[in-house]
Symmetry: C3
Subunit: 416 residues, 3 copies
Amino acid sequence: MTRPDPSISDLVADRRPGHSLPAGLYTRADVFDADMEIFFRNHWIAVGLECDVPEPGDAYVLDIGKSSLILLRDDEGEIRVLHNVCRHRGARVLNAGNSIVSKLVCPYHQWTYELSGELMHAPHMGQGFDKSCRSLKPVKFVSVGGLVYACLSDNPPEDIDRLIETMEPRLAPYDIRNAKVAYQCDVIENGNWKLTIENNRECYHCLGNHPELCLSFIDLDFGYDPAALSQADRERADAHEARFAEVTMAWEAAGYPSAAVLPRVEGDTNFRTQRLLMNGAGESQSPDTRAACKKLLGTMTDKMLGDVHLWGHNTWNHFMADHAVIATVIPLGPDRTLVRTKWLVHKDAVEGVDYDVQHLTSVWVATTDQDAELVERSHAGVSDPAYEPGPYSEFAETELESFAGWYVRQMRVNGY
Amino acid sequence: MTRPDPSISDLVADRRPGHSLPAGLYTRADVFDADMEIFFRNHWIAVGLECDVPEPGDAYVLDIGKSSLILLRDDEGEIRVLHNVCRHRGARVLNAGNSIVSKLVCPYHQWTYELSGELMHAPHMGQGFDKSCRSLKPVKFVSVGGLVYACLSDNPPEDIDRLIETMEPRLAPYDIRNAKVAYQCDVIENGNWKLTIENNRECYHCLGNHPELCLSFIDLDFGYDPAALSQADRERADAHEARFAEVTMAWEAAGYPSAAVLPRVEGDTNFRTQRLLMNGAGESQSPDTRAACKKLLGTMTDKMLGDVHLWGHNTWNHFMADHAVIATVIPLGPDRTLVRTKWLVHKDAVEGVDYDVQHLTSVWVATTDQDAELVERSHAGVSDPAYEPGPYSEFAETELESFAGWYVRQMRVNGY
Amino acid sequence: MTRPDPSISDLVADRRPGHSLPAGLYTRADVFDADMEIFFRNHWIAVGLECDVPEPGDAYVLDIGKSSLILLRDDEGEIRVLHNVCRHRGARVLNAGNSIVSKLVCPYHQWTYELSGELMHAPHMGQGFDKSCRSLKPVKFVSVGGLVYACLSDNPPEDIDRLIETMEPRLAPYDIRNAKVAYQCDVIENGNWKLTIENNRECYHCLGNHPELCLSFIDLDFGYDPAALSQADRERADAHEARFAEVTMAWEAAGYPSAAVLPRVEGDTNFRTQRLLMNGAGESQSPDTRAACKKLLGTMTDKMLGDVHLWGHNTWNHFMADHAVIATVIPLGPDRTLVRTKWLVHKDAVEGVDYDVQHLTSVWVATTDQDAELVERSHAGVSDPAYEPGPYSEFAETELESFAGWYVRQMRVNGY
């Protein structure tokens, strides 16, 4: 007889430090359900941007698992996040994507809500009907320098403060709250969300797979085995490290926080940030490594302030002087993951004048497609009975070890 | 750890009167399986029409879940319903849809059955092979004025008699047995079959969603909150009610049964019928509210006999002087439901002369597409963890309360 | 309440000799998982051909369930079968299908393996990293006259020797090891793999479904009820049998093993082989029953040596003087099965000169499409609650009884 599958707790206990996860943690449906509950319901997750809804009445709907959130700007100009579920018979109030609304009117029976979520009109419900307990349910959220993080649980982790305190000053000069979404694209990766994250948390694969990105990205910053380098490469690496340390000190001295803030395995809200140098002209992750938008973000005047890099829970971000790239990861199933990428420019930048969309987006469009192929290849392989967890490089995959350790700890904390 | 799902019985017990059903009853795969067993196997369900198979040798195959039924007219002109499963190795004998046959020949090994289902020839089965116990299995069915209801169980509910006694005299003048299917269309709604039924059992959503239907349909007949109407509207509503009562009495006096027969929560075979007034010219649910077929159905001569409306178990029907519309609901999965609609005219009506198909069908084609969008919107919403059952309007959603009560009672009777 | 499903053991115990299998053995997901473990993991299965990879560096990747195998020819010209799973983080090393490689380089992080599977380079893994325990895992395999059978288990059945001993001398004159794949086509049948096999193991359905094949195929050889034949047909059948016996003796006398070797219900590695006569000109399963390739296979000179027919575990094969047809069956799901068919000719045969691909392949392309339709029809029918196992013909379906008996015995041996 075929053996019964191990429990999720067994899989968690089987995880061997320094190695990729046991197969079932990437592939099983019950693990996916647990992941959605723990990591996409009880944690803070990146859901959108203040500048997704620049004007009062702008609304942006994002589906996360079976949940659907309305991110909107109310009549007072404040951000709101509401559940997209009519309080009558549950119909979706708004369709996915962007819309402009004066009230939130459910198309089914015209129940009508204020932009605050308050129910103002429910026809034919009779005199005794109490509208006050039928508001659209609110979702807890914070804005981290314009990046909107929400938590679907009633008891969100408290350490979101550390993210806010770290990032607000770093993001301030870029004024992401008032930026403009110049382009957005969705890629569905045929793999588990943790493989998407792992792929993002190392640059060991960059040189072999991302020719466009490697013009500006410096993979050395993500770790390497010194013994693997030639004498000449070793000298170049040492020179880069010295320069990077020097520039970081100069940035800090000029009032731009730049030093690395590392993820904490024991924390709930995991993130990593650092201001990185870029290669080539050093201005931007563009095809020629120069600024791809003439008008700089926020109050920026210096194109050489590098790349403020942020790895959040389900997101990666690059803030450069001329533009920012924000990717959000939304699991769709055990083996399907949505990666939504947005390119931000100054709100007054004019397409065709200040920037060309194709030029602005081409590096990360290519990179994301390449990554999708790698994640699919990984998911197929870890699903193979011949797979066994393999060793992480202690030089080039330290952030995977950090992520895997944090993941396993969170699973344990949640009873697995 | 994630909490275990409640049992089906828990979901049934959680149902709160006056409110839509707990989410799991709409969305869960195990509930769907129970529904298929209880409501589509043990109950009488609408499967087709006598006039789907007007001539001997005509056959019509309908799939219901994993079952497939052959509705056919045999050599004596009698209706038969047989299981579409060869008694040899189980192959489907006929393909889905309509065909014309002289015998039922399984294409796999040419086992050949009479139109009665009797096995007449099975090649190479040897001398001792007993054909008599290898007939195609019959399915229990009744014809209700030409509407064929079948039951896949060996112990069908007995109260089908009430449906027959009620509807035979109402349908007689329309002679549906000898009508003609002028058009048929299938729409797959991305929602649970109970959301399809709920959507059909109220007209609260009509004004906001069905502009074409509302030319002829009078949503007031399906309930409204008097206090929600303006003084003028209230007077119009009162005038309509008075007129409706008067016309109903006149129809009854002229020998046309018209009064409402209501569903019974405690019955098995649930239905509702009533002769309704139509708006505008009052003749038909057509784009101009006038008869869309010159030749009237059956023995009808008066175009002003309204709309004999029948809500059956998995079907809705409108019988008007010039044509009838018959919709059948077949669940395909927890979140997928087939709605098959047929438009019937007099069998001698000639397309292009007596009626134009586009004109005949446009109102309900549009309405069905609109309903499909609403059902999808509802299913997405009730699947959201933020959904909680909402209140039915005590004026405009009384039939939903009746349906939900009946559904819950049937689940309980079946051990949940 | 709906009844719980019977256990797999109950289904196995319910199987009634002389009858098709209980429905659940064809349709259930848990049975499919057990089948994959027992019949496609613990048994020898046909996976490819030596001539899929004629030259050193040729590689052919086949997916079986969640496994993926690399069949390749190494630098020494030897066949190897390796698991297609990188030992780092599990990525697929090669894509499905054919490729040419000098080394096996995982595209993710450029881990580089010799064609033997040995890991030769893993960048950035540090000084202490032990490459010796990180070879691509080998898969056990044998070549049966050029037909590659593999076993994914560590304890493959021992009776593969009987297949080798039987087939090597039969295949020797055809030199399949050095043939050429002239054409390959994939058909996905919407049915369980056992229905695909059952369909292949009888020719009861041929006359009614395979007009192209029946030009050369003699369905009498697969059994018939003598009493079902007319006097004239009976005389023709007797004449054929006498001639077949005589020709078989002549073939054997000329050194070509031809007599039937029958499957053994109690064996693990089940197969049947026999040299068959062909109809018409008797040379080939081609549209005109004549050789479809001018250059004959291997050392063959006589076109009238019939059809060496081999039914293996998950494969059927026809070896004729001019060409061979090899079909491999790979289950994709409970109701989806891949049938991959390859047409082989002499390696020096030139397309357009010695053979025309359309002419060479048309009979089995048509036959395979027809069979796919029959298997889909069967699967739909056995999934119907009205299905009950039906009787096999004791004349025309003896091989199905043999297969079903073997299947049930294997299930029991494995604890069901």
